[in-house]
Symmetry: C2
Subunit: 260 residues, 2 copies
């Protein structure tokens, strides 16, 4: 299974531009043979926009933003994971959605761990745990940014069968440790693939640090972006590696949940 992560330069609040750039990247990724394209947190709007602006941009899943992504996916022939400010009743959620290569919405996840004042001032917290969908036979799980810092949620994904956990993120300096240490640790300890996909560039107070990477179930980083450029990271995943490392070191069955 070939996947692509788009480490994108920020263009805050530019939804039309984000969709136009997504179309270009989706076509490039599909041409490179990728079956799934992963994009950063809130990839259609930008992240650190302030609560008023985010509420102005927020749309329900049935709105034009998600509709255009569905068209891009079906016209490019690639599944897409994108973020957007999701309007649901009075709530604005920090959401990601997995759209299949035929444009069908397969799964939507609302960020459950809100990060500090930036998230709390703008978003309601989601209340679903493990959100998954199957693409080309691969079980893909959805979480967002700060969520990956909690080993419990990644473990829950592993126990429910997630093989590839996609993590759109908006990781800023100086938190390089998250990409460089926590992400490989999560992949290793729960023995699944993680595609951690970040912004690059500056957005208001934040300097995004890039460091987009795919870590494998043995913790090895199978693909790593070179620094902070705007570009696609294309890599092949071999899902059989998951069973192989779990046979060698059976973390999931060696757990002693009755003791914790």
């Amino acid at each position: 299974m070939r996947i692509a992560c788009w480490q994108a330069a920020t263009h805050p609040s530019d939804v039309a531009g984000a969709l136009a750039r997504l179309r270009v990247r989706a076509e490039q990724a599909a041409a490179a043979g990728a079956r799934v394209l992963v994009t950063p947190e809130m990839s259609l709007s930008g992240y650190d926009l302030g609560s008023r602006r985010l509420r102005e941009l927020a749309e329900p899943e049935s709105g034009p933003m998600c509709g255009e992504v569905a068209r891009i996916a079906s016209e490019s022939g690639i599944a897409i994971v994108h973020g957007w400010p999701e309007l649901a009743g009075e709530h604005v959620y920090n959401s990601v959605r997995l759209v299949d290569a035929d444009g069908t919405g397969l799964a939507t996840y609302r960020k459950t761990h809100l990060f500090g004042a930036i998230d709390r001032s703008s978003f309601s917290a989601g209340d679903t745990g493990v959100v998954q969908a199957v693409v080309d036979g691969l079980t893909i799980g959805l979480i967002i940014c700060y969520d990956v810092e909690f080993p419990e949620l990644v473990r829950a994904h592993a126990l429910r069968g997630t093989e590839l956990l996609v993590v759109p993120t908006a990781l800023m300096s100086p938190w390089h440790f998250v990409a460089e240490t926590l992400v490989p640790a999560r992949a290793c300890e729960s023995q699944l693939f993680i595609a951690y996909t970040n912004w690059t560039g500056r957005e208001r107070r934040l300097e995004y640090c890039g460091l987009t990477r795919v870590a494998g179930p043995d913790g090895r980083v199978v693909a790593i972006d070179a620094g902070t450029r705007d570009g696609l990271l294309v890599t092949d995943l071999d899902p059989s590696l998951i069973a192989e490392v779990r046979k060698e070191t059976p973390y999931l069955t060696d757990r002693r949940p009755e003791l914790y």
Copy 2:
């Protein structure tokens, strides 16, 4: 609080020698101002000895091995964490014990996550979760080697107030990833100090990789051993750093346990 980790060269099955070397190291650590000395997994006997030899060497906590450690601790004036094959009824456990600087046994922990054939062929699994004791006002938790690879157990320690988690280990090549990535990840995600103390040298099939280190609650490695030498790693811990990093990033209260 100053602590010392003894990265020790293996001398398999040499209990008398281990106790003599421990006395030297305890005196050195105490002279350096350390209040606690941490030693590797099964530090009094060696680890990869085979089940028959380990059963021959096994003693209860009331036996002469633990008695001599108590004398070393009280005569050196330093608390000691040591490992030994613990005999209890028909069972042999892979145990560690924290002895106070006056020779009092404060806590004993039996390894709960058994690692592969080496552990399973020789030891019964312990069935206690969080084991702690207080030394000089610092709450110290005890786990062993493979245990630290399970985020759940380290999290349970953090939630129960462990400030310094000591991890006697027997980490062999090629598992450098555990020391280099998982240990700092555990310290960061649960926001406590971890003193990971390994063997160096060869024991039957195993080549121990050293890499003894102390990681802080921000994930930063505050002290790191230079490679594979036999020696003491002495470092100062500032427990106030724990509250500081938990205030900045409140992982423990940002958890959503109802969702996992």
